[in-house]
């Protein structure tokens, strides 16, 4: 048992997978000697060799494409995209191939790969380093999309992602990489890939978030508790396939819901959650479902980043409005 940061937990999960499954290999830019720019792969090339922890040339489209080829031939490639803004060149291979190979061949070939990438802002990174493209990926049939919110969840969900026989996108909230430590048991136990986690129980309102925003939601819940508002906080964790039951159960109890999402508002994943609620939980609702999101603007450079990101103040405000309704 050890106190680990999220990035250390990722490192442990990768090491566990490499050690126990000879078909697992890692590939990406600077993941070898350098251990990745965030050090998620620190020490793994030394330990498992440069054939299984593979530095690649700078070409995300090719990284994704060779991962598809490797996976089709029975390997389990775990590819790293260095920063979230560089996922885009990999999308074609992900959408047109990785997500479809099993279906196209009626199961003759399959694509058990994992795409790992940092996700989101909050660390004053340069341009194109703070994107949150999860909704695009969740919209793609054939992909699973997972975003952990803590070291323990990162460990268990990443192991599950690697073991999953189909392609999984695993987005690691950059701002959580070193934000806090948590006990993580490095025993190879995975967490389920089809479950939302109730991070805090409450009666009055359901707060829904994932990744970095979970902590803003929890902080807002603390603030609101002191005002007598009892928030239930749900960590989506696996966006696709979505565990709607846990969400609906909570909304049935509270009758109110606020969704927090770092990505730009329009057609973000929060919209999907709201749509599921109005489809299947309309009669539970005592108030409109609000979304607290990034604005529909280009993610600002560092100086204005703080005003773009959903804050505790914005979340608390939305919850208060939700409590006032009806």
């Amino acid at each position: 048992m050890a106190e680990l940061t999220l990035v250390e937990a990722v490192n442990r999960a990768l090491a566990h997978a490499l050690e126990h499954d000879p078909t697992v290999l890692l590939l990406g830019e600077d993941i070898g000697v350098n251990g990745g720019v965030f050090r998620a792969t620190l020490g793994l090339q030394q330990r498992f060799g440069s054939a299984r922890v593979l530095d690649t040339p700078l070409a995300e489209a090719a990284i994704a494409g060779v991962a598809v080829g490797m996976a089709a031939m029975g390997l389990k490639p775990v590819m790293e995209i260095q920063f979230s803004g560089f996922i885009y060149p990999a999308l074609d291979q992900l959408i047109n191939h990785a997500s479809r190979l099993r279906n196209r061949t009626r199961g003759r070939l399959s694509c058990p790969m994992v795409l790992r990438a940092p996700n989101g802002g909050g660390i004053h990174a340069p341009e194109h380093h703070s994107e949150s493209p999860e909704a695009m990926l969740a919209h793609t049939p054939g992909l699973r999309v997972v975003i952990p919110s803590s070291p323990a969840r990162a460990y268990g969900l990443l192991l599950a992602a690697i073991r999953d026989p189909d392609p999984v996108v695993f987005l690691e909230p950059t701002r959580l990489y070193r934000l806090f430590k948590q006990e993580v048991i490095d025993d190879g136990e995975s967490l389920p890939l089809d479950t939302c986690f109730v991070s805090r129980e409450g009666r009055d309102v359901t707060l829904i978030a994932w990744g970095g925003m979970l902590h803003e939601a929890l902080a807002a819940a603390e603030t609101l508790a002191s005002e007598g508002v009892d928030c239930e906080v749900i960590d989506i964790a696996t966006l696709k396939p979505l565990d709607a039951e846990t969400i609906l159960r909570s909304v049935e109890k509270t009758g109110r819901c606020v969704i927090v999402q770092e990505a730009a508002r329009t057609a973000g994943f929060g919209a999907e959650i709201a749509a599921v609620i109005v489809e299947r939980g309309l009669y539970f609702l005592q108030a409109p479902v609000r979304r607290v999101t990034g604005y529909d603007v280009v993610m600002p450079l560092a100086r204005l980043e703080g005003q773009y990101l959903p804050s505790v103040a914005r979340i608390a405000d939305a919850v208060r409005k939700t409590m006032e309704a009806a």
């Binding site: 070409a59 090719a62 060779v66 080829g69 009626r106 199961g107 070939l109 026989p165 565990d243």
Partner: protein, 403 residues
């Protein structure tokens, strides 16, 4: 600085990957990259390259006397001839089926049979092919059935569930993306120490994509057993070869990745098979990737959805047709006494019968049920998709799902 660097660069993977990647690097100083230091002076030649061109059999069926013996073994040549004829018979029928509304869009390989057949004949069954949509010549030789190919173009995923080349990639429609798949497969073979080679085919248009270049570049750095063949049929739909690339050859794109690039007459199946075989043998032997440009001509429309008369001169097509690969080999075989009119008649009949049997089997293939779109989406359908599955079932037509 320059030549020193150039030579230093040949010690690939020197930095991090010594153990894994240097064992089999015996081709390190490949002859196609010649480093020459010229005399003193500010301007020196850093490196020079050459792209060779190979043709054994001329358009009129004359064999170059310098052709290696093993390339013209009678049994080999008869096999190549039969395979090309079979491909063409199938191809013509598929077009006819489309014209009568019994098949979807189809991409004919007319005039380019030597490329697919040359490659298919050069591969071993354990090798892996990542084809484009125009490579049934190679695929049929590897064991994909005509029925499977018809089922695919007939709009049914089962057509990519090949019973025989189980590890071959399905037809790739997004142009150029298959090169990376082959590179990844080749990496898997190298990692597992399997003596297998990945072969991929793309078009002259495909050679303009970034995907082609970045994947070949990566494969070259990793020195994986990969052979990339460009079927240069001179057209990318309506875009002529010279509007795809300002280069004198497409083979020279190999220079950008630091691999061997060869140009071959893709209408000469003897040379085609020979070059493919040499490249595959080199790859199997640890010599890394090769890029082959096979020069041919697309005698038909781009696909059945295209009308090439809109953008090109039929006269040019007629002239190019005179160089087509099957008649060329037939002339040579006949001259060598290896082929008779009687044999030709019999082969034509055999092919026609095989094609007819395939068509009958294709047309008799029962439709997939509605559930087919869910069954292979994941190893196991997530519980959350149950309602969608039920909705699809509820609206499936009575006949079990044929849409």
């Amino acid at each position: 600085m320059n030549w020193a660097r150039a030579r230093a660069n040949q010690a690939l993977f020197g930095v991090c990957s010594k153990k894994f990647l240097r064992a089999d690097e015996k081709h390190a100083a490949a002859p196609y990259v010649t480093l020459t230091k010229l005399e003193a002076g500010p301007m020196t030649i850093g490196v020079s390259f050459q792209i060779d061109f190979l043709r054994f059999l001329s358009a009129s069926g004359e064999l170059d006397p310098a052709t290696p013996r093993e390339a013209i073994d009678p049994e080999l040549l008869l096999g190549l001839y039969r395979a090309m004829t079979r491909t063409r018979a199938y191809d013509g029928k598929a077009i006819a089926l489309q014209r009568t509304g019994k098949l979807g869009t189809f991409a004919s390989a007319l005039g380019q049979e030597a490329i697919g057949v040359g490659i298919g004949a050069a591969m071993r069954s354990e090798d892996v092919l990542a084809p484009s949509y125009r490579d049934h010549g190679a695929q049929l030789l590897r064991g994909m059935t005509m029925v499977e190919n018809l089922v695919y173009w007939g709009g049914d995923e089962r057509g990519s569930d090949y019973a025989v080349p189980r590890s071959d990639f399905p037809i790739c429609v997004p142009v150029g993306t298959q090169v990376a798949h082959a590179a990844g497969a080749a990496y898997a073979f190298k990692l597992r120490n399997e003596k297998r080679v990945a072969v991929t085919i793309l078009g002259d248009g495909g050679a303009s994509t970034g995907d082609f270049y970045s994947a070949l570049n990566m494969a070259a750095v990793w020195r994986v057993p990969l052979v990339v063949v460009i079927n240069n049929n001179q057209w990318a739909i309506s875009t002529p070869r010279e509007m795809e690339s300002a280069t004198a050859t497409l083979a020279q794109k190999a220079v950008a990745a630091g691999v061997e690039g060869r140009q071959v007459d893709g209408n000469d199946v003897i040379a085609m098979r020979h070059v493919a075989h040499a490249a595959i043998a080199k790859a199997r032997d640890g010599g890394g990737p090769t890029l082959i440009e096979a020069l041919s001509y697309r005698l038909g429309d781009h696909t059945t959805a295209d009308d090439a008369s809109r953008y090109r001169d039929v006269e040019v097509v007629r002239r190019e047709a005179e160089k087509e690969p099957i008649a060329r080999l037939r002339k040579y075989l006949a001259a060598r006494g290896l082929w008779s009119e009687e044999q030709e008649r019999r082969l034509a009949k055999d092919c026609a019968e095989e094609v007819e049997r395939a068509v009958a089997a294709y047309l008799a293939t029962p439709p997939q049920a509605f559930s087919a779109m869910f069954d292979h989406l994941f190893a196991q359908l997530p519980e959350s998709m149950r309602d969608q599955y039920e909705e699809a079932r509820r609206f499936a037509p009575e006949d079990g799902g044929h849409g």
